[in-house]
């Protein structure tokens, strides 16, 4: 007789790999054959995982169409079965999976659209760290400024898009006529975050994106002022840096480094 562990191993195999060995352990009813009854679980597994992805990537679903999305979702859960008790995290590899899927080689906007949707989802339920405020900065002494470091709020995500995925997102969001996909000659720099309890995103200029990325790798205020010198005359760089910093504080992009 099979042990509980053996039965669970076989049952899971029947769902993940359509393996039939568990059939020896289950029984027919007077109304139905066991294979049909087992199929209730086999069918529900895929349907449920596809539904998770549809809920987390609604605009990617609309853009790709039901059939195309579903086919690629099936490929996804075969490669990435859920490994977390919380379905919230099941789709975390999906944007990258779309980006690398052979059938989407000519549609890089699909992966980028999914990346943007996942970033907005992250913004929605990221932790509630207290953002830095203008008052926090007002307490700094002048000598603290040059060595001042930065830490991004967990709700922020930076994306560098090579397609017009953000425009596609916006047209879907506004339920306007869908814009045609196109690769961009120049990268579109995006930041997403939670502001006033809403998940949001906006574009960043190249210099702002560069200093944001460098600040989050550890560059201090003095260093980002120097970096901005590659974009602006050196006497204007500190003013530019201060302007960006002000905008980040106003949008609650930063938390304490302490």
């Amino acid at each position: 007789m099979s042990t509980l562990k053996e039965i669970q191993d076989k049952f899971q195999k029947s769902i993940l790999q359509q393996d039939a060995t568990v059939m020896d352990d289950i029984v027919d009813t007077s109304k139905e054959e066991r294979a049909v009854l087992l199929n209730v679980y086999q069918h529900a597994y895929g349907a449920r995982l596809i539904e998770f992805l549809e809920n987390d990537f609604p605009k990617t679903l609309t853009y790709m169409g039901d059939e195309n999305f579903e086919n690629i979702a099936k490929d996804y859960y075969e490669v990435h079965p859920s490994d977390n008790p919380n379905a919230r995290w099941f789709g975390r590899h999906f944007p990258q999976f779309l980006a690398k899927h052979p059938e989407l080689i000519n549609n890089p906007e699909c992966g980028e659209l999914a990346h943007l949707e996942y970033a907005l989802g992250t913004a929605f339920d990221a932790s509630n760290n207290k953002p830095l405020t203008r008052e926090d900065f007002a307490q700094l002494s002048p000598e603290d400024w040059s060595t001042l470091g930065f830490k991004a709020h967990p709700s922020t995500t930076r994306l560098s898009l090579k397609t017009n995925a953000s425009e596609i997102w916006s047209s879907l969001h506004k339920e306007e006529e869908l814009v045609e996909s196109k690769s961009k000659a120049l990268i579109i720099e995006i930041i997403s975050w939670r502001g006033d309890n809403m998940a949001r995103f906006r574009t960043m200029s190249y210099d702002e994106a560069m200093i944001w990325d460098e600040a989050n790798k550890g560059a201090n205020f003095g260093q980002i002022c120097e970096m901005l010198g590659t974009y602006w005359p050196s006497e204007e760089a500190p003013l530019k840096a201060a302007g960006y910093l002000q905008a980040w504080i106003a949008s609650e992009f930063l938390i304490s480094t302490a």
């Binding site: 289950i26 859920s82 008790p85 379905a87 929605f124």
Partner: protein
Amino acid sequence: MSEQKSSRPPFIGFGLGLRSEHYTDILEGNPPIDWFEVVSENFMVPGGRPMQILDQIKEKYPVVMHGVSMSIASTQPLDMDYLTELKKLAKHVQPKWISDHLCWTGVHGVNLHDLLPFPYTAEALDHIVERVNTVQDFLDHPLALENVSSYVSFKQSELSEWEFISELTKRTGCWLLLDVNNVFVSSYNHEFDAMEFINGIPEDRVVQFHMAGHSDYETYIVDTHDAPVRDEVWELYRACQKRFGPVSTIIERDDNIPPLAELMPELEKIRNIGYEIHPQLKPQAA
């Protein structure tokens, strides 16, 4: 077990499973719903809007936490990270009790996100008893386990489902969330008498009922929780309130979720049957 974990949770009335589709109606309209059951995992996220909503709900209504991923019957080790998160959420929410399902959800690090069946054997009972005791010692709240709908049964089973559940409650002191629809679905699928199930469950361990709808495929029924409660399940509900009552009850709608206003008559029916069987619950006119 501590006093808090072992003492019987209170009767808190007739409520609903909290669903995001109803947030605005609930927070702005303050509908006459006695309490809400929240899906624990929906709020086991770092922060943001979900927790804000839950905080507002719990300010106004009693709340019970209902999980789907404890996987109490799995042969995989208990997921202590999950239980730690669950305990953290419970500390914040202060639910009247915490529930999950008598099932397993996966092995080898995979979560199949389904409520899977297992054979009712002495081996399974020993295994689950040990795990329930561990979980109850870990959580600071009463634990209730729910009977699931199932579609297959195993040659190895030595006990009926109700005998298994009864033994489990005797050996662990855990509470029961009796899903009345699931009793009906499983009785149809496995060809047993639903009343035999109900009469086989200890009278003093049931702290909550779930009421829901299902989908009938003639040779079997699937617990879809996406439709109004069926007539046969209403009859079982009456029998359950008589045997176990008064027991706190909710409508658990998981799919095809209608506007709140459409669920209220069904909730009223649940309440009225409760009042009819237990007249002492009925509020007295001033």
